[in-house]
């Protein structure tokens, strides 16, 4: 029996702990400076909006940890002595490990803007960020959010739920331009500005944040010289691995902790997973830093196998992700880039009135389906995963689209319109297959 210590109780660390427990009798300790128990970071916005209480974001009841012999320490690790395999806590205590898993997550980016440490300037990542956002909301008349990405939208939704006006500064000329194709971004922009009164300011970058005599933000200036009065500035221009406390140690670090395919680091018995892990060699088309809920979970699953003696490499399957932009749900399966890559073709179907859009990408010559972005309609993960694994053609995907519909029962379906539109655009004659039970189709493969 060895002592496995996990620093970080987010989805990566906790997934690792659960899998280690299931696979072994090792002693497990999970350390977090942020919170006593695991909670779902993705749900923080719902606390602010009054949809949930903090305890509702905790997937496991407190008894769970004792029952599963997972020890929890709510404290701050100041430094790690890799030679003696020991951790030094804030209160001078020391903990010795046999295996160490670093799941320390990340922190909001700050790019050295003047005034970035004023009161009322913050990111949105941790429980503490939520608490300070609550505090900063008092008497708030105008908020500015910098950075058009997922966290920025969440923050905007949070403020607008309390009728606090938001100005949203976006560096690119379209929302989440590094990820979403233009037409997809337009749908979201429309939705946010038309239906929710969000003020989008595109091609705008933050220059300076100005404070008042009490040290609280009172305005910002953009690079174009525009000045905006505000009492809050949300910095949501991405996150960066939370590894400052490891700098200067013998652990190899670039932006994140450098890891090998099996998530081991430059030091034996030390692993890194989740937001803070940076792959020396990226996996396929993925980024070398993957800061997504799902990938954190998968890394946790993988590292657990390895530390329990069954060496495994991180081999994520087909890319998938999801988000919600106010009322519009978004899912993606496979790869849809913001701009078509060489040899790719696309087919976009947009509902004439409603905010529903499907964006298919496939290979121009082989017609192999590459990926889809879907908005305002739910699609079945299992079916798309199988299509991607089998290199199904776009024609097969469209013909069987009914199998992939995951909208609730009684919802209007659009498969017919979609296939007709495709046939017309590409001069094809795909016949929409009737809806058999989707499982039988999967089994037949």
């Amino acid at each position: 029996m060895k002592h496995i210590v996990i620093i970080g109780n987010g989805i990566s660390g906790i997934t690792a702990a659960r899998h280690i427990r299931k696979n072994s009798d090792h002693k497990i300790t999970v350390i977090s400076a942020e919170s006593e128990y695991f909670f779902s970071r993705t749900a923080l916005m719902y606390i602010y909006m009054g949809h949930m209480r903090f305890e509702d974001t905790q997937p496991y009841e407190p008894y769970f940890w004792k029952k599963n012999r997972i020890e929890l320490i709510h404290d701050d690790v100041l430094s790690i002595d890799f030679d003696s395999k020991s951790l030094n806590f804030k209160n001078n205590e020391v903990l010795v490990y046999d295996d160490l898993i670093l799941a320390v997550g990340s922190k909001p980016n700050k790019f050295g803007w003047p005034g970035q440490d004023l009161q009322g300037v913050q990111g949105m990542y941790s429980k503490q960020d939520l608490e300070s956002m609550e505090e900063n909301s008092k008497g708030l008349k105008q908020a500015v959010i910098v950075g058009g990405g997922l966290i920025g939208v969440e923050m905007a939704e949070m403020f607008l739920s309390r009728d606090i006006p938001v100005k949203f500064l976006i560096r690119e000329n379209s929302f989440w331009g590094g990820v979403l194709p233009q037409v997809d971004a337009e749908l979201i922009e429309q939705h946010m500005s038309k239906h929710h009164g969000l003020e989008l300011i595109k091609n705008a970058e933050l220059q300076t944040i100005h404070g008042d005599e009490k040290g609280r933000v009172e305005s910002i200036t953009t690079k174009a010289g525009e000045s905006i009065a505000c009492q809050f500035v949300g910095l949501t221009v991405g996150v960066t691995p939370n590894v400052d406390f490891l700098k200067g140690s013998s652990l190899e670090i670039d932006r994140g902790i450098l890891v090998n395919p099996d998530l081991s680091t430059s030091i034996p018995n030390v692993y890194a997973i989740g937001d803070c892990a940076q792959f020396r060699v990226p996996n396929g088309l993925r980024r070398n830093l993957e800061q997504v809920w799902y990938t954190g979970r998968m890394m946790g699953e993988t590292v657990a196998q390895t530390v329990c003696g069954k060496s495994s490499i991180y081999k994520p399957g087909n890319w998938f992700n999801s988000a919600k932009f106010f009322d519009v749900e978004y899912q993606t399966y496979g790869w849809v880039w913001n701009e078509l890559k060489e040899g790719e073709e696309e087919f976009v179907w947009k509902h004439p009135k409603k905010e529903i859009l499907l964006h298919f990408v496939f290979d121009k010559t082989t017609l192999i389906f590459k990926g889809i972005n879907n908005f305002g309609i739910r699609l079945r993960h299992e079916v798309f995963d199988a299509w991607l694994n089998d290199s199904a053609s776009i024609e097969e995907v469209l013909a069987n689209l009914r199998l992939a519909n995951f909208d609730p029962e009684l919802f209007t379906t659009y498969e017919k319109d979609i296939v007709n539109a495709f046939n017309q655009q590409f001069n094809k004659n795909i016949q929409l297959a009737s809806k058999k039970w989707w499982r039988s189709m999967l089994k037949a493969r």
Partner: protein, 530 residues
């Protein structure tokens, strides 16, 4: 819009205040001849004189005071008769029902003279005000989508003071309705003209008031539900369905059938929720009511024994609980703002399993006793002690069942506690029909909530808004389908999910329960049953 909403709130509160104040006012006098017509010969013989001496010519200022006087006379006499063992003279009507009859006859309050005006000032203002409060939400709450902003911050829905006030009001209402109905005489009488539309000259009873109020509340709060969930066709159709079954089957048909001399039965009510189905008076009244009565009896049996399990096999228990049932209908309309208050802890689930199955067993045992009694009544009318089985009287059992389960659990706790324990307290912990269908749903059904591969982000919206207290997230985050006896299929977990992870559906039994699924993404690493 905000102004309309605000005015609506005041108008509603005015109507509510008026309605609530009615028991405290009025004029109640009764004459000798009235007493003589209201009383049965036995009652007249027992307490006629006494009643006439102490009541006639006297004026009471509210229904409660006259009722109390009647009850004390009635009970005093009964005790005396019992003490003297004059069993043939003892009166078996409940004293509150007897008092009700007298007080209703004695009512000379304003409401008896201009009931329509009283109706407009109470129900009228209440309905108009509530709709003025609700309908502006179409604009105020923004475009269609999830509308849960501020739920845990509002004192009406987070067990704050408005919630607690509502709780006290609802509980008081049910206690009065079941045990002190004579306090509501004025409120009942304001519906007399409405009752008269069905059968001319017939006066409303407390059950007519309750039925009418029930339908009204469901329709008004149904409008709120429809606005709130207008992005979901499933919720829209379902809301129309519950309102339809309540208004048509539980109310209109029950009132209309007697016009044609037929028994006013609620044809959608299935045993064991309809626990008095095999009571002797029910069976007798059905069998004595010609072909329709016989049909209703056979229909009741068929519904409970064949249709309920069959439909549950195909569609899950939702076909009843959240599409047809009246209790469910109220929970899904009036109760919707409280759905997040259900307890999601493991302890609550354990308690639930004990409790609901205990009630089911109680219902079955009670039915065996009453069935035995009814059978004897029909087949051997001359038999002695027809109600006694294994030394226990079926009357005792059914009285206890009616009191504990029928009144206290289903009414007082089931609905009164909406603002405290959430809107499905009865359905989750107490309903024997839900328990019965739950067993079918868990072990032999095509219904499940499918989890969409690996898309769950463990946010907890599904669990938070599950009115049945199911920890939906615990399954979804493992990539596991949700197959639970208690799921009533309201579909709200699927609606509130921000990532499109949950879908209620019916399909082959094979693969319905996924015990140790693999989350899509990282191949070959099963998620774990922890």
């Amino acid at each position: 819009m905000k102004a309309i909403k605000k005015i609506g709130l005041y108008v509603f509160l005015l109507g509510l205040l008026f309605f609530t104040s009615l028991p405290f006012f009025g004029k109640f006098t009764i004459s000798q001849s009235q007493i003589e017509t209201e009383l049965t010969p036995q009652e007249l013989d027992n307490i006629g004189e006494e009643l006439i001496r102490s009541l006639s010519g006297k004026e009471f200022s509210n229904s409660t005071s006259i009722a109390h006087e009647v009850i004390s006379i009635y009970e005093l006499k009964n005790e005396e008769l019992k003490a003297n063992q004059e069993w043939d003279k003892v009166m078996w009507t409940q004293s509150s029902a007897f008092a009700m009859k007298i007080a209703q006859s004695a009512n000379e309050s304003g409401v008896t003279k201009s009931p329509w005006m009283y109706f407009l000032l109470s129900f009228g203002l209440g309905i108009v005000g509530a709709l003025m409060y609700i309908i502006p939400d179409v604009v105020l709450l923004g475009p269609a989508g999830i509308k849960n902003n501020g739920i845990f911050q509002s004192t009406a829905t987070n067990r704050g003071w408005i919630g607690m006030l509502t709780f006290v009001y609802l509980v008081s209402f049910y206690i009065i309705l079941y045990f002190y109905p004579y306090m509501m005489i004025n409120q009942i009488n304001l519906l007399d003209p409405l009752k008269g539309l069905f059968i001319e000259g017939e006066k409303a009873s407390q059950w007519f008031l309750y039925g009418f109020l029930y339908c009204t509340v469901m329709i008004v709060m149904g409008v709120k539900m429809l606005i709130k969930y207008r992005h979901s066709k499933y919720q829209i159709v379902r809301t129309f369905s519950v309102i339809f079954f309540q208004v048509v089957f539980a109310f209109l048909l029950v009132e209309i059938l007697p016009i044609f001399g037929l028994p006013g039965v609620d044809l959608k009510s299935a045993w064991p929720l309809d626990y008095d189905f095999l009571f002797d008076w029910n069976v007798k009244s059905l069998l004595d009511s010609g072909n329709f009565g016989k049909f209703a009896f056979v229909w009741g049996l068929t519904l409970s024994i064949i249709i309920v399990p069959l439909f549950t096999y195909f569609y899950g228990k939702r076909w009843y609980c959240s599409w047809v049932c009246g209790c469910g209908g109220l929970a899904e309309t009036l109760g919707d703002p409280y759905r997040h208050l259900s307890n999601k802890k493991m302890k609550a689930w354990k308690f639930e399993r004990w409790m609901i199955h205990a009630v089911l067993i109680f219902a079955v045992v009670m039915t065996i006793f009453t069935g035995y009694h009814t059978y004897n009544e029909l087949n051997s009318p001359d038999m002695q002690e027809k109600d006694i089985l294994w030394g226990i009287s079926s009357f005792d059992i059914r009285t206890w069942y009616s009191f504990l389960i029928g009144s206290i659990f289903a009414g007082v706790i089931g609905t009164g506690f909406y603002p405290v324990f959430g809107n499905r307290t009865w359905c989750r912990f107490g309903c024997p029909l839900a328990a019965y269908m739950g067993i079918v749903q868990r072990f032999k059904s095509r219904f499940r909530i499918t989890t969409n591969g690996g898309q769950c982000i463990s946010c907890g919206n599904c669990s938070t808004y599950c009115e049945q207290g199911i920890d939906v997230r615990a399954y979804a985050q493992k990539g596991q389908n949700i197959v639970r006896a208690s799921c009533v299929g309201c579909g709200v977990c699927s609606s509130v999910c921000p990532r499109g992870v949950l879908k209620l559906e019916n399909g082959p039994e094979e693969g319905r329960i996924s015990d140790n699924p693999i989350i899509i993404g990282k191949d070959n690493v099963p998620t774990l049953n922890l």
